[in-house]
């Protein structure tokens, strides 16, 4: 399915999308209702105890840190924080759920009624067809701004619950239950604190869905609430999607899409599903309300084929815990602890350093990167912030990517990067040399100044030395001198190369150029 098919469909149909985003509170260290550690993987059933195994008579004790993290997440997304809240039991039988009920929240979530701004730029803007205001849609109205648009997406609620264990189906294909001969259960994950965020059906395009999920991920990362790994499943995004004819007010029949394990998968799965639903409607068929599974290899969604009965979860208040009553002062004290959030940081970088919006947003997307940038600029000064940004988004980003490490683990520290920028700016080394110094510093952890010293890389700006080198080159290449003087000025590049070779790369290119033109002319 090409992108054009989606755009074609969106000409006639409007998509209505809501997301459910589950995030494990990996920052909580221990599970939601017991003292077992929170971690990924490990030998099956080694991080378990009577509570998270649902052994008879064991009781849950709420993890206060996890509740605090959830309230912080709510505060960071403009939610109302409940003064009175409680857990409910959500009841259904499944082998990955030790008690055969999940302690979750029902009508009294910790956080509700929030909102985040989502910015869309680049090719994804094309998916939003009502920017000119011609097509009337309900839901939030996008605001057109430089190179794209911004739209507020509502958050219905953020509640806290416990994660389930993991099933491994043995004997079938690809670990799926179909054809499996038996199943194994690993309860290491069972009881991990899990935040569930439910968005309003305010999202109108797959690109907005992706941007919304990315925005939330960056907020969670800045808060430090979770490592938000979509591969390891600590952040999981499910989507509800329906389509309706442009101008129609009633919602169409929705499907729920699961197994979207990356932001790209989220976009592509929703795009596929919109086109699939449009094809059904175009053919006069009905969309069936069901849960569908995204297959990233086959690049399509498929129904889970299980008899999807309407679940009655028989929610009722969890009697093993007393309800929570929060003081407004406590909530205010948490609000005061909120770190600078990505949007605010991005806007500050634009205002203070005149960075391009996209660059600023990337630097502000997580606190480690933001802190690195701030620390670098602290040393270089604001007038070299742009260079710091270029280094971080260029060589440093490439290095981190190649080595698969976090910015905090890079051998090149903010102080070293600032030093390197200073060496370029005061003309000690050329930009090309700086790249070599960076690479060496990244490998050895040596200070850029020391590397320059040790390698004798100091750029020569001394006019006398350059004049001597230029004189030698001109003397050795009379034919080229002749053609330059005859008007073929493009040979200047040849002379620059020769002079630089003569000077073993250490000549200041700007000065070399100037001296060449003077002595040739």
């Amino acid at each position: 399915m090409g992108k054009d098919r989606l755009l074609d469909v969106l000409e006639r149909y409007e998509a209505v999308i809501g997301l459910e985003i589950h995030t494990e509170i990996t920052a909580a260290n221990t599970k939601m209702f017991c003292g077992c550690p929170v971690a990924f993987g490990g030998e099956p059933n080694t991080r378990v105890c009577p509570v998270c195994l649902g052994m008879p008579g064991a009781l849950p004790v709420p993890n206060e840190a996890a509740i605090e993290w959830t309230v912080l997440a709510g505060l960071a997304t403009d939610c109302d924080i409940a003064l009175w809240s409680q857990f409910h039991r959500k009841q259904y039988f499944y082998p990955d759920m030790p008690k055969d009920y999940q302690i979750s929240q029902y009508d009294l979530p910790f956080c509700s009624n929030g909102m985040v701004d989502v910015e869309v730029d680049g090719p994804g803007v094309a998916e939003r067809l009502d920017l000119d205001g011609d097509v009337v849609a309900d839901g939030p109205v996008p605001v057109v701004e430089d190179g794209g648009y911004r739209v507020p997406i509502g958050i219905t609620r953020i509640h806290l619950e416990e994660d389930t264990g993991k099933m491994v189906h043995v004997g079938g294909s690809e670990g799926r239950i179909a054809g499996a001969t038996h199943s194994l259960v690993d309860f290491n994950r069972a009881g991990t604190p899990l935040m569930e965020l439910v968005s309003e059906p305010d999202i109108r395009t797959p690109e907005e869905a992706r941007r919304f999920a990315q925005k939330l991920r960056s907020i969670w990362l800045v808060l430090g609430v979770s490592d938000c790994s979509m591969e390891e499943g600590s952040m999981r995004v499910d989507g509800n999607v329906s389509i309706r004819a442009r101008g129609q007010v009633e919602f169409g029949t929705k499907t729920e899409i699961k197994n979207m394990n990356s932001f790209k998968a989220l976009h592509d799965a929703l795009a596929y599903e919109i086109v699939r639903q449009a094809d059904l409607l175009d053919a006069g068929e009905a969309v069936v309300q069901e849960t569908r599974h995204w297959d990233a290899t086959a690049r399509r969604t498929s129904g889970l084929r299980s008899k999807e009965e309407a679940h009655d979860y028989r929610y009722f208040p969890e009697p093993d815990m007393v309800p929570f009553s929060f003081e407004p002062e406590w909530i205010a004290s948490l609000a005061a602890q909120l770190p600078e959030l990505p949007d605010a940081r991005r806007d500050r970088y634009i205002a203070e350093y005149a960075l391009p919006k996209a660059d600023a947003a990337m630097l502000a997307a997580d606190s480690e990167t933001g802190r690195y940038f701030d620390a670098t600029v602290e040393i270089t000064g604001a007038d070299r912030a742009k260079q710091a940004a270029n280094w971080m988004l260029g060589d440093l980003a490439a290095l981190l990517n190649a080595e698969g490490i976090a910015i905090g683990d890079a051998r090149v520290t903010p102080a070293m990067l600032a030093e390197l920028i200073g060496l370029v700016e005061d003309g000690t080394i050329s930009g090309k040399q700086a790249k070599q110094v960076f690479a060496e510093a990244a490998e050895t952890g040596d200070a850029p100044g020391a590397i320059v010293e040790a390698r004798g890389m100091k750029q020569v700006s001394d006019t006398g030395a350059i004049e001597a080198a230029v004189a030698a080159v001109l003397e050795a290449n009379p034919a080229e001198v002749e053609s330059y003087r005859a008007g073929k000025t493009s040979v200047i590049g040849f002379f620059v190369g020769q002079v630089m070779r003569e000077m073993r790369g250490q000549g200041n290119p700007a000065v070399v150029n100037e001296v060449l033109r003077r002595m040739l002319g």
Partner: protein, 495 residues
């Protein structure tokens, strides 16, 4: 054969006798097992005996005494444990096929505290399956018989705990009380049973029936022992989020306080309930007279919403139970059906095979009451009734220190007599409102029924965390009444 007779000694006397060197903790254990040998073939109070654990505990007590150490408050006291409480090294069956072979993987807090106070874990006691019942007839392993009359039930669900104390097989035992499961069997067996305030004793490790109703409490032969055992097991537990943070009072010190000036309320309106035997009613009126004669200020109190207790309880209790029992699914532990076709088949057959009829009835009741479309009409209404009952007690305790009712409408009935579940449920009419409100209450013997010779019980209800007051009232009444707690079966042994 040892000369020690646990029927003739209180728990305190056993402990003090060991401390003095009159006899050893080993001899106390011997006495318990000898009595079990003699009578439990008929009574069937025990599901499991733990002589290794009991004698190891006895040896620790005897060694401590030999070393001249101060002995803890329950040192060497033979104790029984209702079989819904976990203890490492034991099976915990809840009298169910579902858990017939289930071995505990950790200790119940209350049991641990009782054993840390020096008690000897003699054995695990029979009960109605998962505590659903008032007669132990719902045990998958056969009923317990009442030591006062082997043709009659000992009450339930903690019938084994009651019978073992009544028959002198142990000095004390632990039971659990969700709607009367301690107080009702205590009344039916002439023993003292205490249901503490909700939250007073940790629920960690007792297999849950109704999480908002369950409390563990002591069975003893007298009020002083009850205070002694509650003092040992009560208190905050970080493993139970509903356990109370209030400090545990010195209950035993309060027992001798007397009732002069105590405001005693007689719940007259519910005395007139249909099915309350005339003699039971009279015993409560007599008890009021006893309190008045001891200097208490006796008045009348109404509990108008108590009548709704039974209906509310049979929604809330089963609703919570249906959820709490979901985990018995055949996946991780407990009974698992053979050759299941798929996971749904495994669930359905394991549960159908593992659970008895009353358990299945409660699960179905509770599942229905929580179902979409019925929740407000059942669970919601029941919660409203519960709030009204809480308000009844609140206003009662503004005027009174304790409230008197019968523990049960009638003394022990014969096996099979109450085959209709609803008439069985009526047996808990007086005890259920207390669980719904969360107050503390105890049952103390109030005499023998003249026609049957069976014991009757007086229920003394107290305000939240007013256990001290309840013990004080109960001790004064007990002393005035002078009830002999020894059943004929035991007297016949002595000959």
């Amino acid at each position: 054969m040892t000369a020690l007779d646990l029927s003739a000694l209180s728990a305190r006397q056993v402990r003090d006798g060991i401390a003095r060197g009159d006899f050893s903790a080993r001899e106390a254990a011997d006495a318990a097992y000898a009595r079990i040998d003699a009578l439990d073939g008929e009574v069937h109070a025990f599901l499991q005996l733990m002589p290794e654990l009991a004698y190891a505990a006895a040896d620790r007590v005897d060694a401590a005494r030999a070393a001249g150490d101060e002995l803890p408050p329950l040192a060497g006291v033979p104790a029984g444990i209702k079989d819904n409480m976990n203890l490492l090294g034991t099976r915990t069956t809840c009298s169910s096929r579902m858990l017939e072979n289930y071995e505990s993987v950790y200790d119940c807090t209350a049991v641990r505290r009782m054993l840390d106070a020096g008690a000897l874990p003699i054995g695990k006691l029979n009960m109605d399956e998962f505590a659903f019942g008032s007669s132990t007839e719902n045990s998958a392993f056969g009923p317990t018989r009442n030591p006062w009359d082997l043709e009659r039930v000992p009450g339930g669900s903690s019938g084994g705990s009651a019978a073992a104390v009544a028959a002198g097989m142990v000095s004390v035992s632990l039971g659990s009380d969700t709607g009367g499961s301690i107080r009702q069997p205590a009344a039916l067996t002439g023993t003292v049973g205490m249901k503490p305030t909700y939250g007073r004793v940790s629920r960690y490790g007792v297999i849950a029936f109704g999480s908002s109703l369950d409390q563990i409490g002591p069975f003893t032969k007298n009020v002083d022992d009850s205070a002694l055992l509650l003092e040992a097991i009560a208190g905050e537990d970080p493993r139970d989020a509903t356990s109370a943070t209030e400090a545990v009072e010195a209950y035993t010190a309060a027992v001798e306080g007397g009732v002069r000036g105590l405001r005693v309320g007689l719940a007259t309106d519910i005395l007139e309930v249909e099915g309350c035997a005339a003699e039971v009613k009279q015993s409560v009126l007599d008890a009021a007279e006893v309190f008045a004669s001891l200097g208490a200020e006796v008045g009348e109190v109404a509990l108008p919403s108590a009548r709704h207790g039974l209906s509310a309880y049979y929604i809330i209790g089963p609703a919570e139970a249906s959820s709490n029992l979901a985990r018995f699914d055949g996946i991780r532990y407990g009974h698992r059906a053979d050759d299941a076709e798929d996971v749904l088949d495994l669930y359905m057959r394991s549960r159908a095979e593992g659970f008895g009829p009353e358990t299945i009835r409660r699960i179905m009741l509770g599942t229905y009451a929580l179902s979409a479309g019925y929740y407000d009409a059942y669970y919601g209404q029941a919660q409203k009734a519960r709030t009204r009952i809480i308000e009844d007690f609140r206003s009662a305790f503004e005027r009174f220190d304790v409230v008197l009712t019968p523990t049960t409408p009638e003394p022990a009935f014969r096996f099979g007599e109450k085959s209709d579940p609803f008439t069985m449920y009526l047996n808990d009419f007086y005890t259920i409102p207390v669980n719904l409100a969360g107050n503390c209450a105890m049952s103390v013997p109030s005499g023998l029924c003249s026609s049957t010779g069976m014991p009757m019980g007086l229920q003394i209800i107290g305000d939240y965390f007013a256990e001290t007051t309840v013990f004080r009232a109960a001790a004064a009444y007990e002393a005035a009444l002078g009830f002999d707690t020894t059943p004929p079966l035991v007297r016949a042994l002595a000959r």
